[in-house]
């Protein structure tokens, strides 16, 4: 029996259900078409709900899916049938807020695609092989944004202001390119 909370996948889709960035941590969906089918079904099921102020939740094919939308971005976190819903919601919130921090509040599809590297690093910092690495959005964003810091600066001493500053710097850079 698996006792450690496990995340099955994290999805970031657009308002038509198309992939922005997805990460699967489980073998439940072995092929790309299985993954796409899952995304399509999840999207269809949640599309009409209002998940803009609070995270929403649904049961689906023996998975628990928590989700939250902003602008034309749809965030999903999936766990097994018996997973603690509140833990899943914490992961979703961490992802959602970290993306918000990294995109400096302008959270939409265009911005997300232009900063896809940040989103991918963000996914990499939240969950490792299904195990939750971090749920605190500030820490996640800090770790992602740290990548233009000086090599010597230890991560722990870096404040969130610094993290945001680097995120901002990165943003301006990507706008200029």
């Amino acid at each position: 029996m698996e006792l450690c909370p496990l995340i099955k996948n994290i999805l970031l889709l657009d308002s038509e259900g198309k992939r922005i960035a997805v990460k699967y941590y489980s073998d439940d969906w072995p092929t790309n078409s299985a993954k796409e089918a899952f995304e399509k079904a999840v999207f269809a099921k949640t599309q009409k709900t209002n998940a803009r102020t609070d995270a929403e939740i649904t049961m689906f094919d023996n998975y628990v899916v928590v989700y939250k939308f902003v602008q034309d971005l749809h965030f999903f976190v999936t766990g097994g049938e018996n997973e603690n819903e509140i833990i899943l919601a914490a992961v979703l919130q961490g992802f959602f807020d970290a993306v918000g921090l990294l995109l400096r509040g302008t959270v939409d599809k265009k911005e997300a695609l232009e900063n896809l590297d940040l989103i991918l690093l963000c996914l990499d910092e939240i969950v490792d092989g299904g195990i939750i690495l971090e749920t605190d959005a500030n820490v996640i964003a800090g770790k992602v944004a740290s990548h233009s810091m000086d090599a010597g600066a230890p991560l722990s001493e870096q404040t969130i202001t610094q993290a945001l500053a680097t995120a901002r710097e990165h943003l301006t850079r990507s706008l200029l390119k």
């Binding site: 029996m1 006792l3 450690c4 909370p5 308002s15 992939r19 960035a21 997805v22 790309n32 993954k35 796409e36 009409k48 709900t49 209002n50 803009r52 609070d54 995270a55 929403e56 939740i57 649904t58 049961m59 928590v66 602008q71 034309d72 603690n84 819903e85 509140i86 833990i87 899943l88 919601a89 914490a90 599809k109 265009k110 695609l113 232009e114 896809l116 590297d117 991918l120 690093l121 990499d124 490792d128 092989g129 195990i131 939750i132 690495l133 971090e134 749920t135 770790k143 740290s146 990548h147 233009s148 810091m149 090599a151 010597g152 230890p154 991560l155 722990s156 990165h170 850079r173 390119k177």
Partner: protein, 887 residues
């Protein structure tokens, strides 16, 4: 509800489709990746190319082996750059490419260098990458660094090492187990997530050592865990310890319950919920233990966060299945959730209410549900329909309003699965609640007037044909049925014709009218419909006069085929057209038992239309029919009892044999159910040679061999014994399966002509006293006991010796006697030191027997028992004591 989709501002329309990856192409990006080889690396440019590659992979694009290798080698060049941002992307890229073993070697040294770097971010990520792609041989080389990393003062590095350890434990347990000391130190870390990861790894290292887990839990529950996630883990480990210790610790308070209860007051919601859920899932949880957990869940029900409401209502829904009373306090909060925006929450709330509701609240509830049904999806509706069905079975008096509800929703729009669920529910209610029959049948009739599903129409027509004629006014159904003959497709028309014929056969007064209707069907276009009409006109006979229908006609129309359809299908497939016509008697009647499949799907109830309307015939009926069809056994009289099948072979042997003991007054018949599991063999002339030398009172009188036993098609052979009439003779029998085996060519399925005689040893079989006892319950044990003559009472005391538990002793005696426990007395409450158990049964010779058993614990484990027997015959009372004394 329908929330306006993202507003598409006009000013954004023109660039709505803009994407930095518009028109991206794999080939071009692979070309671009050549910049990785430039002597002067441009980190920004390289980062962008990696992002593009990752984007392609993320969109489901795949690289060929050659492409992947090429990209991988190019990416390894990037370790030359000192740019941190680029390095991060390189790490992610390497993980995505999951390189093969010989490729891994290329990056190993670079990664090992990063692992010992001063930069924390390098160390953390290099550990994660290296552990992900390594194959174990490398692990011993880097083990030293990993152990250091686990206790690194930087939490990100420590977490990276610990999480990697959790993954590596699956592939290289012996190495990871050596890190135990470091991991233990990390559990005490001040960083929340490090504590969580360390605890997870430590538990996985020790999970097979129950004592160590116990120790871990007892020390940590004293309170040194800060991280909410770690606390959730600890709760899970604690429940596991409770579960495993429950079996051998029946006395005293539940260990660690206080810890779980304490967690209900934790700051973090995830911990509160985890603890509440753990308490509700405790084995044999008492209502006192449940109360605090239910209270916090109730608070969650009115939370503003949908996730909390969902979590709470889902858990309460589960509790309602086992402890409906405990949940009733939440009913008011639950009712307000019916209008919840989130339909999953609303559905769970409704089904919970349906489980906890009492008879008086049903009507109010139904009103609320009616409004609710119109705006949920079919899948939720099915859940509600099933809940309503069980509610109706619980409160049969409410059948009118519940049946009305079902018929209303039956008329509304809906897909096949949903409609089928409703029809199944109505059918079950008709079957189980006699008062609901007439209204239910009419609802079904109205439904088929406008039913788009052929399957449902034919099933309902079939059901009508069986139930309709038994109602007070069968004639009112005729119109509905005949309408189908006009208005439907051929399949439904054929079904309707058969149903008409059944009415004609069962209701003599209707016969002339049915005759007229059937005659009209003779001009049908469809062959099947016309043939059926012709057939029925001829079988009903009597030229349409009011005459009684012959028994054999009824048998033909209503009699069930007493052969499993699967077997018939198999036999028909194997039949080759020849001079010899197909003999239906050669079809094996044994139903293949599927205990495994049934266990797998415990939630699946037999649904209405699939099961035969009168309920499946009890096995005794089936056995009786089977035995009386065998001439050798026809004169044995009435079958007294058939035992459950006893396996005589191990699972998964060449031949699977089990035996059913059929007890008659003066005979015993052993029915050996044999299955041949070897595709290359055909067994012929199968018999069981029974040695009854240890069963002196039995004498073999007949045996019926099995002519042929093909692969995977069960067959039976019988052996009959004579025994003194009315005497519960017991004895042991040893069995030997004897047969002629013929080789079968698996490609053609043809058997060779010559066979070899062979034998196969089976296990022994015993006829015991319990075989002579029928489980027959009484409704009021005390009354039955009082009315029985006290002169025939026999009382004695027995010492049962040391037993595992009181419950185990009680079960043992019940099984020994083979009697029916009454009034739930077979259940022994936890921790009790004495118990009274009431049993009733009918002994061979149709003698009623009542037994009162009083158990007491004598010393720590010794069980003493007082046995009082009353029966209609004192000899039988003595016999019961005899059974216990010799058992």
């Amino acid at each position: 509800m329908a929330q306006p989709l993202v507003k598409k501002d006009d000013d954004r329309d023109d660039e709505a489709d803009y994407s930095p990856f518009l028109g991206i192409e794999k080939g071009a990006v692979l070309q671009e990746a050549r910049v990785f080889n430039d002597p002067q690396l441009d980190p920004r440019r390289c980062s962008q190319v990696i992002t593009k590659l990752l984007y392609l992979l993320n969109q489901g694009e795949t690289f060929t082996k050659v492409e992947a290798t090429e990209v991988f080698f190019a990416v390894t060049k990037l370790f030359q750059s000192k740019d941190i941002g680029l390095r991060r992307m390189v790490y992610v890229m390497i993980k995505e490419l999951s390189p093969s073993a010989d490729e891994v070697i290329i990056v190993t040294s670079s990664l090992m260098k990063d692992m010992t770097s001063k930069t924390d971010m390098y160390r953390a990520n290099a550990i994660r990458v290296l552990c992900r792609i390594t194959d174990g041989t490398l692990l011993t080389q880097i083990e030293r660094y990993l152990k250091q990393a686990i206790v690194d003062k930087n939490p990100v590095v420590a977490s990276a090492a610990l999480v990697s350890g959790i993954h590596l434990l699956q592939t290289n347990p012996e190495i990871v187990k050596r890190w135990s000391n470091e991991v233990q130190e990390a559990v005490q870390s001040r960083a929340a997530l490090v504590q969580f990861h360390a605890l997870a790894l430590l538990h996985q290292i020790r999970q097979n050592d129950r004592l160590a887990v116990n120790k871990l839990v007892s020390s940590l529950t004293k309170g040194s865990v800060r991280s909410p996630l770690a606390q959730c883990l600890l709760i899970r480990y604690t429940s596991q310890v409770i579960r495993e210790s429950a079996n051998n610790n029946q006395a005293g308070d539940r260990p660690f319950y206080d810890f779980l209860e304490g967690c209900l007051r934790h700051k973090a919601e995830m911990v509160i919920f985890e603890a509440a859920r753990a308490i509700t899932e405790l084995n044999g949880v008492t209502s006192r233990e449940l109360t605090p957990a239910i209270t916090v869940l109730q608070l969650f029900l009115s939370s503003s966060k949908p996730v909390l409401r969902f979590a709470a209502v889902r858990t309460l829904n589960k509790v309602a299945m086992t402890h409906p009373m405990a949940v009733t306090n939440c009913n008011i909060d639950m009712e307000s959730l019916i209008s919840d925006q989130n339909r999953s929450i609303a559905t769970l709330a409704i089904t919970t209410l349906l489980k906890t509701g009492n008879e008086s609240s049903v009507d109010r509830l139904m009103k609320q549900i009616t409004n609710f049904m119109s705006d949920i999806a079919d899948e939720f509706k099915i859940v509600v329909v099933e809940a309503i069905r069980s509610l109706c079975l619980k409160f049969p008096l409410k059948h009118r309003s519940l049946m009305n509800f079902l018929s209303n929703i039956l008329r509304e729009e809906g897909g096949f699965e949903y409609k089928k669920a409703i029809v199944d529910s109505i059918v079950i209610l008709i079957r189980d609640i006699p008062e609901a029959k007439e209204s239910g049948l009419l609802h079904l009739c109205e439904f088929i007037e406008d039913c788009e599903f052929t399957y449902l129409s034919t099933q309902i027509l079939h059901f009508l044909g069986i139930e309709g004629p038994k109602t007070s006014d069968p004639s009112k159904y005729i119109r509905y049925i005949y309408n189908r003959v006009h208005l439907e497709n051929a399949t439904v028309r054929a079904g309707a014709v058969s149903t008409l014929a059944k009415f004609g056969a069962m209701v003599d007064t209707l016969k002339p009218r049915v005759f007229v209707l059937l005659r009209r069907c003779l001009f049908e276009n469809d062959d099947e419909v016309r043939d059926r009409a012709t057939l029925y006109i001829n079988t009903l006979g009597g030229d349409g006069a009011v005459v009684e229908t012959g028994e054999d006609v009824k048998e033909f129309l209503f009699g069930s085929l007493d052969i499993p359809l699967v077997n018939l299908e198999n036999s028909l497939k194997n039949y080759e057209p020849s001079e010899e016509s197909f003999d239906i008697n050669s079809v094996p009647k044994e139903v293949k038992t599927q205990p495994l499949a049934e266990k797998k799907a415990p939630g699946k109830k037999p649904t209405g239309l699939g099961a035969s309307p009168a309920g499946p015939p009890s096995t005794v009926d089936a056995y009786e029919k089977l035995l009386s069809s065998i001439p050798e056994f026809a004169n044995f009289g009435k079958l007294f009892k058939s035992s459950a099948p006893v396996e005589l072979t191990e699972a998964e042997t060449e031949y699977a044999v089990n035996v059913v003991k059929h007890i008659f007054d003066g005979h015993v018949v052993f029915q050996y159910n044999c299955t041949n599991t070897i595709p290359e063999q055909l067994l012929e002339n199968v018999t069981v040679i029974v040695d009854a030398s240890e069963a002196e009172e039995f004498a073999e009188v007949a045996s019926k061999p099995l002519r042929s036993l093909p692969y995977d098609s069960p067959g039976q052979t019988f052996v009959a014994f004579e025994k003194p009439e009315g005497v519960p003779a017991v004895g042991k029998f040893s069995n030997m399966l004897r047969f002629i085996v013929k080789e079968v060519d698996p490609s053609t399925g043809e058997a060779e002509d010559d066979g070899v005689e062979d034998e196969y040893q089976l296990e022994e079989l015993e006829v015991v006293a319990a075989d002579y006892m029928l489980k027959v319950g009484v409704s009021n044990f005390r009354n039955a006991w009082e009315t029985m003559d006290a002169d025939c009472e026999r009382v004695d005391e027995y010492g049962l010796g040391p037993r595992e538990s009181l419950a185990e002793a009680v079960n043992a005696v019940i099984n020994l006697l083979g009697m029916q426990p009454c009034e739930g007395t077979e259940v022994v409450p936890n921790n009790s030191r004495s118990h009274t158990c009431l049993l009733s049964g009918v002994y061979i010779g149709n003698v009623k027997v009542l037994v009162r058993l009083q158990f007491g614990l004598d010393g720590p484990k010794d069980v003493a028992m007082k046995l009082a027997v009353r029966s209609e015959d004192e000899a039988v009372s003595d016999a019961i004591h005899e059974i216990v004394a010799s058992g």
